[in-house]
Subunit: 598 residues, 2 copies
């Protein structure tokens, strides 16, 4: 698989973009005309730079509003084309992208477009250039790849073929299976972009909201299967216009981009059974092995855990690390980190093949993390997520692998005190600034093998919070991702522990002096209005400052600890088949946290 | 005119919102149920606070998904309603907003909706509450105010009427003139919101992109005329859901909001000739009197002006202020300001009635600015724009008003040296962070009497820049507004001076040693490809680093000085009827400024 990316996907000047593409490992690039026009380097200098960086110039793009015009405009368009062909010759580019006419076409007949494109192809042939004709989703007369292919067949020139762009095909709902009916010698180029499902005009959708493969709602594995099965032999090239990527660090975006291509090709190969081409297989988590909180002094986190009913699980025999547990929920407090406060620093996942999961992550492009270990310590393979959180995988039970390294705590083999909390990690709530959200979605998809639930939006006192849960189908591992409004600080992260009886857990925690988040009385009046709750349950909820939600399948009772540093804890109980996260109560919780100055 | 605003328009907690509404001068509020639910204050406390602040609780909202349901659900909906009516009684709210059913309606018959709403009205009557029924644009069966009115007529209860929301009427393209056919006693409530013209699903459009009146594309003056002529006697109430306003400072947004209502009512009164109700009439600028740059030490700005060919116009006789001019373009350098750097601090507009323009601005809600003047100095009335820029108005020529206070410069009565620059201010380019953009549009509309050109977007090296020009119809005053991407710093502001011969101006400036922004050679190759320019003109453009654009009406030649502090200058020439701003060259200019580290 050859990889390529359009320079328009990245921020900065052309030279910076090319360096970033090469550093990320791309084989080639599409040079955007506007990027070259704004560059101080001559086409010859750009060509030499690409040579030195080992980047092939796969395409020069776009040439617009060419075909389907009257004779006078056609003559001027050929003159424009000749000038750009001269630039391409200096650049050493061998293929020009011609987009279907949006603005100036007045002749709908395919024969006219074919004749004009044929003349362009003949002119290009003199420069050794191929023409790849692309149907834009909003083209004046040509807005469907099948129509572009018909025109290319009519024109019948050896150096005229078509460019297929996943966005233009899938945004219009056109059937991609017919790509397999196209002569493979005429499939000149392939551009890939994903996008969220949105009901808006297709031009704005394309210009602002394209995403890298794996981040949106398009079925790109099926799409790519059709293109490869059709016999396409060119590069897989990303063309993603997105307001976010245009602003973010060019090297980071390029790394992010190539990860999306590797993931897509892997998924496509897996779908089609192309065994020899796959990465190590994805390892969907079977559970959360541990959650790690780091900071210089975590004694106040320890106090919260103790008040919640967590049991001290011991000190690590060789490091400044402590373990707390509540049944199968394990929290590691790591004081090797000298940063003040407390932050969610790591997540451990239970998988079938930990080494394979880590290999896959590195193959896709995540940097491995190094963790100092001493003789006899159990080694967990891991990588850094884009936001720096360390991800570890374990294919053995904690009690038989790393947990025995912790000494001096309650023996997990014996029975804990009756009031001890017993649970598992239900979900971990992580927050991202808006410009890092899509990258995190791709990481969670490609390396953690999690799937996206539909996104929702919650009104907080500082603006709307976009929330998206990524999870395994069975719910064994769930990450609730929050996207903060641009002007608001990041929301703190939190760890939700699921127990059998949240009301009892709350009562016990209160008895141990846990300061509860005070929930307004109005909230309970509203609960009663909405659900007509049993007065005794309502009384207990009100008394213990518990939050409640209900859907057709069951109900949800939960409460929050205060925030320490940048983390806090939530205790949740799921009754019946309730599968949500209490989103309806989130505005109340956010307002209550804000009222407490958190 | 009574003014009101829904608490959902503002950020923060309910108590903060109420204080901000009162401080901005609103007469009343719509209490959003969710705001009350999240508040720690009881309904009685909120009622007492509103009393103390002098705010009427005009409406309690929303009550959702009530009508058009089966019998079992109807019974539960009545139970829900009774609980909310009890809350309203504690709150002292006398009107409940019922939105047309979106989620649970299964009975499309208007008779069913009417019977169920009638029963609700009867229940509400026991609490002394009126029900205002509103057709949401995305209601399941009722999505048109005329259908809501039909149902209200069928139900025929004294305390059941309708609520009209401009968004739900205008977003669907429904004819607002039929509002005049509604019984005025049944027009219970009016909600006002503007919105940009957008092609997207109406629910997302409503939830994220509503704007205050005067900021969007709806014809709200005609809309409001129909409502008032229909005999509506309630308050004008704003209900604007917008991702930006939810995040910005609550007091600033409330001030911004009431300005929009005052402007709208003024325009509506003017449209209908309700003379006694109007503010002072708008004063569209006839030209730009001066531009003021402030800073501690402006000698480097002075050097730029001198190199451009501006003529020194003298020192102010009593202040640390200097005047430079180029024909009718006057730049005031104000060193009374002790902030380092240089910033665009003020704009003077030529109008027919300066005192009236300033009175109108203050009536709408802009704070007047105080400028220290000495005996005999000419006084210019002025106000502060939302971003702090000082706006002044002058109804007399500069030479007969403030300009004679400047001494020791070239006598404006005598002929300047042949190479001196002569021009006028063509436009001023101002930049806003994204969260202040809409507020600036409203200020420019309501107090400067400028109109919006369609917005455009320019790809810059740090992300897309949204650009919108606001101007008088004749172009005598133009503000080009740029909206920076959230993660990018504000673009510097600049002052564009229009001359008759930009090529000669550039040659003269270069001879005086002005450092030009270096434009890439590739740009000129592209100009030639696009326009097939006369080789001599192309050669001059390339030699002098000039930018060029052409449209159907004429052409545009321009160049930029370096940036000093946060300002720079542009010299422009308009040939023929060219009326744009060279937007096609902006990416090249932005990239060139970035390459120079600006």
């Amino acid at each position: 698989m050859r990889t390529s990316i359009a320079t328009v996907c990245l921020s900065g000047g052309l030279v910076e973009k090319l360096h970033a593409c090469a550093a990320a490992g791309f084989d080639g690039v599409e040079i955007m005309d506007a990027d070259l026009v704004a560059a101080h380097e001559s086409p010859e200098e750009i060509r030499a730079l690409c040579d030195r960086l080992g980047l092939t110039i796969e395409l020069f793009q776009p040439f617009r509003d060419f075909e389907g015009v009257d004779e006078a405009l056609f003559a001027d368009n050929l003159r424009r084309a000749a000038a750009k062909l001269a630039v391409m010759q200096r650049l050493g580019a061998r293929m020009m992208l011609v987009c279907s006419n949006v603005a100036t076409a007045t002749r709908p007949e395919p024969e006219v477009a074919a004749a004009q494109l044929g003349a362009l192809a003949d002119l290009a042939a003199d420069h050794g250039v191929d023409i790849a004709y692309e149907a834009l989703a909003w083209g004046r007369y040509v807005d469907d790849y099948r129509e572009a292919w018909r025109i290319v067949q009519l024109a019948d020139r050896p150096n005229l073929g078509i460019c297929i762009d996943s966005f233009h095909v899938l945004s219009r709902g056109h059937d991609p299976s017919e790509i397999q009916q196209i002569d493979p010698d005429k499939l000149f180029f392939l551009q890939l972009a994903d996008a969220p499902a949105m009901d808006m005009d297709v031009l704005s959708w394309s210009r602002h909201h394209r995403l890298f493969p794996g981040e949106g709602d398009f079925d790109l594995t099926t799409f790519l299967s059709h293109v490869i099965l059709a016999g396409y032999r060119g590069p897989l090239s990303l063309e993603v216009f997105n307001d976010t990527f245009r602003q973010t660090d060019v090297d980071r975006t390029a790394t992010h981009a190539i990860r999306s291509l590797r993931w897509l090709y892997d998924r496509t190969a897996a779908l089609n059974g192309w065994e020899e081409l796959q990465l190590d297989p994805p390892q969907p988590p079977k559970g959360i092995d541990f959650v790690e909180v780091a900071g210089e002094d975590l004694s106040s986190v320890e106090q919260l855990l103790s008040q919640l009913g967590f049991v001290f699980g011991g000190r690590h025999r060789s490091k400044a690390v402590r373990l707390w547990r509540a049944g199968e929920a394990r929290v590691i407090l790591n004081e090797q980190d000298r940063t003040p406060g407390a932050r969610l620093a790591g997540l451990g996942f239970e998988v079938d093949d930990a080494a394979g999961a880590a290999r896959r992550a590195v193959e896709i492009g995540a940097p491995p993390v190094f963790r100092r270990t001493y003789a006899g310590d159990y080694e967990l393979p891991g990588v850094a997520a884009p936001d720096g959180t360390e991800i570890y995988w374990n294919s053995r039970p904690a009690a038989e692998s790393w947990a025995p390294e912790f000494e001096g705590g309650a023996d997990p083999g014996t029975v804990d005190a009756p009031a001890a909390l017993r649970g598992i990690v239900d979900h971990v709530n992580v927050a991202y600034p808006w410009q890092e959200f899509d990258e995190a979605v791709l990481f969670n998809t490609s390396t953690l093998a999690l799937d996206s639930e539909p996104a929702s939006e919650l009104p907080g006192p500082r603006g709307l919070v976009r929330s998206q849960v990524m999870r395994t189908a069975d719910g064994a591992a769930r990450l609730a991702m929050n996207l903060a409004p641009p002007t608001a600080p990041l929301l703190p992260r939190h760890i939700a522990v699921r127990v059998d009886d949240a009301v009892a857990a709350a009562a016990a925690a209160r008895a141990r002096g846990l300061p509860f988040l005070k929930i307004p009385s109005n909230y309970y009046d509203d609960l009663d209005a909405r659900f007509g709750l049993d007065p005794e349950l309502l009384g207990r909820l009100r008394e213990l400052d518990l939050l409640y939600d209900r859907d057709g399948d069951g109900s949800f009772i939960h409460f929050y600890t205060p925030i320490v540093g940048d983390v806090f804890f939530e205790i949740v109980e799921r009754r019946g088949g309730y599968d949500g996260y209490g989103a309806a109560s989130a505005p109340v919780r956010l307002a209550a946290q804000r009222a407490r100055g958190e």
